[in-house]
Each structure stands twice: as C-alpha cells, then as structure tokens.
C-alpha cells in the first residue's frame, strides 16, 4: 500500500523543483552545520578535558575527615544529616598514603594512584626570583596518573628519572627565570634552600600550571619541605573518567577522606563549554527551523496546487490517511536526501575546519582547530531535522487530508 503513495509523493515533489531544492538545501545546511558546530565545540571541550586529566588526574584525595564529628553526628538522631554537614572537619593532608593507596587500588575503575607532597617555594635563578609550588612525586606512580611523559618539550624524562636532584619546570616559569635544560636553580622553603638542576621543561598548555608547578623527586621534596612522611594529596586516574563523580562519592564514604572528582574541580570551565555548546546549538537550530519552515511552505504550496489531484485520488478510493502519507512522504524524501547530503557536508566541513591553523594557549595548547568525530553528533543532527521538519509538515499534510472532495470539485475548498 505504501508504494503508490510514495510514488505519488515523489511526482508531486519533483513537479515543484524549485521549492523542493529550497527546502532540501535548508535541510542539508541545517544537518551539516549542526554536525560541524557540535564537532568543534565538543572538540575543544574534550581537548580541555584531556589536558586537565593529563595534569591533575580524574580524582584527588585530600584531607582526612575528622572522625569525632562523625560519631557525634551519628548519635544525633533526626538532625544527623545537618549536624554532619555543618560539623564536618578535616585534618589537613594524608597521614598514611601507602595504606590509602592500597585501598584505592581495590576499586575496579582505578587505573593508577600517585601520592604527592606539595609545598610553596621560592625559586631563584641567576636572573631573578619567582614564587612557585613544588610537587614531590614518585615518577613511575605519577606517569600512571598524568600525561607528564608527553608534556616534556625540552630535555628528556630519562634525565629527570636518572638525576635525584633534577627538577621538571613548566615552560612559562622557565621562560620567566630564563632557565634552560641543565641550568641550576635555588629552591627555598621554610628558611632552607637546595640547589637543583633543570632536567627537563614541560608544557601542559594550562598557563596556571606551566607558571607555578615544579616537579621534584619525592625524597628531595620531603627534605626541602621538612615533611618526612605523609602526603598532601593522592592523584588518581580512572579507566572511565566520566564515572569520576560516582567513584569519588564511594571513595569518600569508604576512605573517610575528602575526595574530589575533576568535574567538580573544573566545573567553571565545564560550565563555560556547556554554555558554548548550547548557544551554538541554538544558533544552528535556527537553520533547522528555517528548513522546517521551507518544508512547510513547499508542502502548503503543493497542497494548494494539487487539490484537484487530491479530489481525484479520494474519488478513486484513496483514504484520508493516504493523503496524509503522500504529503509526509514528500517531507520524508527531502529528509532522507537532506540527512545523507547534510551528513556528508558536515563531515567534509569538519575535516576542512580541522585543517585550519589556530594557535591557542592558556587552558590548553593547540595549533589547529580541534574537532571530534562522534556518530552521536550525526544522529543528533538528523534527529533534530526529522523532528522539526516532520512537525512542520504535519500541518499541511493534515489540511490536505481534511479537504472534502465535494468542496474541491466545486471550487469551494479551504
């Protein structure tokens, strides 16, 4: 039964070529631009996420929750929730990193854990002095929770590994202090100072990090900061970073420490990206809206021009729903062709955009426009177009179906 309707739909549509091409091109543009904007905005968002995961890992465990408050709250009955919330107290730092790390490794989603000792320091090069933060790490552990290996731009990680008094210095900091690989610098903290050597210079693209973070081997950092045991925080990487908030909640419950997921840590930037994505989506939806208006216009025109054909069809036994289908099928044909062509256009433009040179440095570092290739963008674009165009087509299609053949042949329809 559908085949005669589809055939009729096709002939009606191709009889109005110009209007059809108009709605088709709007659909192609709508679908294509939707894909391109999603690919680019989410491209930057993902790259940002990769950058910050590569610096700080997915989860950070910091500060022990004071247990006395908890037992107090547990005894508090009905108000226990508030009591606990208001009463929560932390003991700074991590007292027994080894035990905690062992517990953390029990979690299935955990890929790596690294204990870090952190402290504020002053750096003094031959040229000038700068404030900085020292991160005492165990290199092998930290490589599992960061992209440090890929962030090294000058010198080599090997040199750092092999020199106990070596330092990894961020690019911005190195530039300010006019430091090159092999130079020595003086680090001072709490009245003491030590001389270390720049083993390598790294660059994350995140300016705040590149201008403050100095990585030292943990023993070196411990003696500098006078902190023989414990850790400032644990940095954790996950197999599936999207699950970090759930894992963080579980970890906090089990380990009785303050645990933060990266989504919470970076929520300002993530909100910016989300806003950007939504605003471009709205802009692009305008094209889909135009596509649906064009389709509405095309169909309304065809309905007007084909009323006599509708009367003939109805006189031959074609039902109201056949008429509806004939007109919806016209929208369907435009959508099918438009979706395929739009997806191709989207892919082509996405590729072209990815070739555009665009140096960015600050929250991440890139020299090209960043895009992502995600089937969900294509599905989303097509779905949006289908829904909007079909909704717009329903109106003329149903009006066509409501026409009475008697009114049409007398010329008194509408």
């Amino acid at each position: 039964m559908t085949s005669p309707n589809l055939r009729i739909a096709y002939r009606f549509l191709t009889a109005k070529k110009r209007a059809m091409v108009m709605s088709l091109s709007c659909t192609v543009l709508g679908v294509g631009l939707f894909i391109v904007t999603q690919a680019t905005t989410s491209g930057f968002e993902r790259f940002f996420t990769k950058t910050i995961l590569g610096i700080n890992g997915a989860i950070r465990i910091e500060d022990k929750i004071q247990d006395t408050m908890r037992s107090m709250a547990a005894a508090g009955g009905g108000d226990s929730h508030f009591a606990r919330r208001d009463g929560v107290k932390y003991i700074e730092g991590i007292e027994e990193p080894q035990a905690l790390m062992a517990a953390v490794r029990e979690f299935a989603n955990v890929r790596g854990v690294s204990a870090v000792v952190r402290g504020n320091v002053q750096l003094q090069s031959a040229f000038k002095a700068e404030d900085a933060q020292v991160f005492g790490i165990r290199l092998e552990d930290h490589l599992r929770v960061s992209d440090l290996a890929e962030q090294v731009t000058n010198g080599s990680l090997e040199d750092f590994r092999n020199s106990p008094s070596g330092a990894l210095v961020g690019r911005v900091l190195a530039d300010r202090l006019q430091l090159a690989v092999g130079d020595s610098l003086l680090i001072s903290a709490r009245g003491a100072s030590r001389r270390v050597q720049v083993a390598a210079i790294y660059e994350t693209g995140y300016r705040e990090v590149d201008k403050t973070n100095v990585y030292l081997h943990q023993p070196e950092a411990r003696s500098l900061l006078k902190r023989p045991s414990g850790a400032t925080f644990l940095q954790i990487s996950l197999h599936d970073p999207t699950r970090a908030p759930q894992d963080a909640a579980r970890l906090e419950q089990v380990l009785r420490h303050s645990v933060k997921a990266w989504q919470e840590r970076e929520k300002t930037w993530l909100a910016v990206f989300r806003a950007l994505r939504i605003s471009t989506m709205i802009t692009v939806s305008v094209f889909t809206l135009i596509a649906s208006l064009a389709m509405f216009n095309t169909l309304a025109m065809i309905v007007l021009e084909k009323t006599k054909d509708i009367a003939i069809l109805r006189s031959m036994g074609y039902e109201r729903r056949d008429v509806t289908r004939i007109f919806l099928a016209q929208a369907g044909i435009v959508l099918a062709v438009g979706a395929v062509a739009g997806a191709l256009l989207g892919a082509a433009v996405t590729w072209l955009v990815s070739q555009v040179p665009l140096p960015i440095n600050g929250i991440f570092k890139t020299d090209r426009f960043i895009v992502t290739w995600d089937a969900a963008h294509y599905a989303g674009a097509v779905l949006t177009a289908v829904v909007m165009v079909m909704v717009a087509s329903l109106i003329p299609a149903r009006r066509a179906a409501r026409l009475e053949p008697g009114d049409i042949v007398r010329g008194t329809a509408q």
Binding site: M1, R11, M316, G317, Y318, E319, R320, P405, G406, V409
Partner: protein, 235 residues
C-alpha cells in the same frame, strides 16, 4: 404509495438507490437550495442519462451519488448498503470498490502517464498483481482508442484524450456503478460514439449500472432511461 418494506437486502437488481436527497450550497445569504428532494435509482446492466439545463443540479446530484459529498437530507444505498450515514472511511472504501467516477472538468493527474493514471485505482485496491494491473490498464486504454499513447503524460494529451483516459480509469476496478459527468463533452462524434458504445457494452456484458450526465440529445436518446431534471428536481 406506502413506504417500501424495511427489507435489509434490497432487490439485487438495484446497484444504486437514493431517495429524498436535499443539498444546499453556499453560505448565509448566498445559500441556495440546489437539490430539492431528488430520488434516483439505477439498475444493473442499464444506462441512464440525466439531462437538464445548465445549473439545474446535475453535477451536485452526481457528487452525492458518487459519495464525494454528503446530502443535507435523504438516503443513498450502494449495492443494498446504506451509505449516506457512514463514516468517511467506509464511504472511501465504497468509492474505491464499487464506484467509478468521471469528473466534468479535471480528469487526470497531470504528472502521471495515461497508463499510471489508469493503474492508480488498481494500485490502491491492490487486488491484482502489478503485471496484471499493467495489462488491464493497457486493454482499457486500447478500448477508448488510446492504445498508442499509454505512456504520454497527462500534460501531453488533448482535452478529449484526457477525458477518455479518465473513463478508462473509472472502469479500472470494474465498479458496479459508473458515474460520468458529461463524458463525451470534449469529444468528436466518432470518439463520443466509441465511448458511448464501450459504456453500453460494459453495462450489458458485466451488469454495470452506468449513469451519464449529458447535454447531447443523441446520446441521451440512445440510453435505456433518460431522466430530465429542472431546478433541483426530476420532472
């Protein structure tokens, strides 16, 4: 006369029966009482002519009988089934199965070839396999003298040719009732004879009821029954 017995199954000889049809057209002050209680029956195997001056309501009556329009009052039976009160779906199904209709003015779907036009009702009814539909459409076009122009688009046919394709199309599903509004209006003598002979032959051979509206006295005279109409009533 007493009213007819309320038998559910009317004598099968009647393909079409209607009584007391009223139809007003237009709105408000423009409202006109076009049909003023028309009754009309058509028997199988008979050819009827409805004649009358322009504007007397012939087309209006034919639309009602063809279930393309609803009467304000009165009843219509098709093959013994009362159709005037049925819903749109039932009336549409009856149109496809039992009624062939030829419009007075517009005949074809112009983006389609003659052959496709004739196959259109068959495709909807879906009784025949596609090859048989094609064959039947060819035969019908042949019988109206258009065997050589089956693949012409509607736009590439003259008015008279279009009219003959429309007649072939109305016959496509072998309807029990053929209603044709001036089917020979655009035709020369030779072709109107061809069409008229075809319709008479079908009526006699297949037992179809044929109802023609015509201004042609010769044609009217050759029909089995002529019903003159004036001002919304048969006289």
């Amino acid at each position: 006369m007493s009213p007819p017995p309320p038998a559910p199954d009317v004598a099968p000889a009647w393909a079409l029966r209607s009584r007391g049809l009223h139809r007003h057209l237009g709105q408000d002050e423009g409202r006109v009482h076009v049909l003023k209680g028309v009754s009309f029956e058509a028997e199988r195997g008979q050819v009827y002519a409805i004649v009358g001056p322009s504007g007397c309501g012939k087309s209006t009556l034919l639309y009602l009988l063809g279930l393309l329009d609803r009467p304000d009052d009165g009843e219509i039976e098709i093959n013994g089934r009362r159709m005037s009160n049925h819903d749109d779906a039932a009336r549409t199904a009856a149109r496809g199965e039992h009624i062939g209709f030829v419009f007075q003015f517009h005949f074809l779907m112009l983006e389609f070839s003659a052959l496709e036009n004739v196959m259109m009702p068959m495709r909807k009814l879906g009784r025949l396999p596609p090859a048989a539909m094609r064959e039947r459409a060819h035969a019908l076009l042949d019988s109206v003298g258009l065997g050589a122009k089956t693949h012409r688009l509607g736009t590439q046919l003259s008015g008279g040719e279009q009219q003959r394709v429309a007649i072939a199309r109305a016959l496509a599903n072998q309807p029990a009732i053929l209603l044709a509004d001036e089917p020979t209006g655009n035709l020369d003598v030779r072709n109107s004879n061809l069409v008229f002979d075809l319709l008479t032959r079908l009526a006699k051979d297949n037992g179809q009821a044929v109802v023609l509206v015509t201004h042609n006295p010769e044609i009217a005279q050759r029909c089995d029954v002529t019903r003159p109409m004036r001002d919304g009533l048969f006289v």
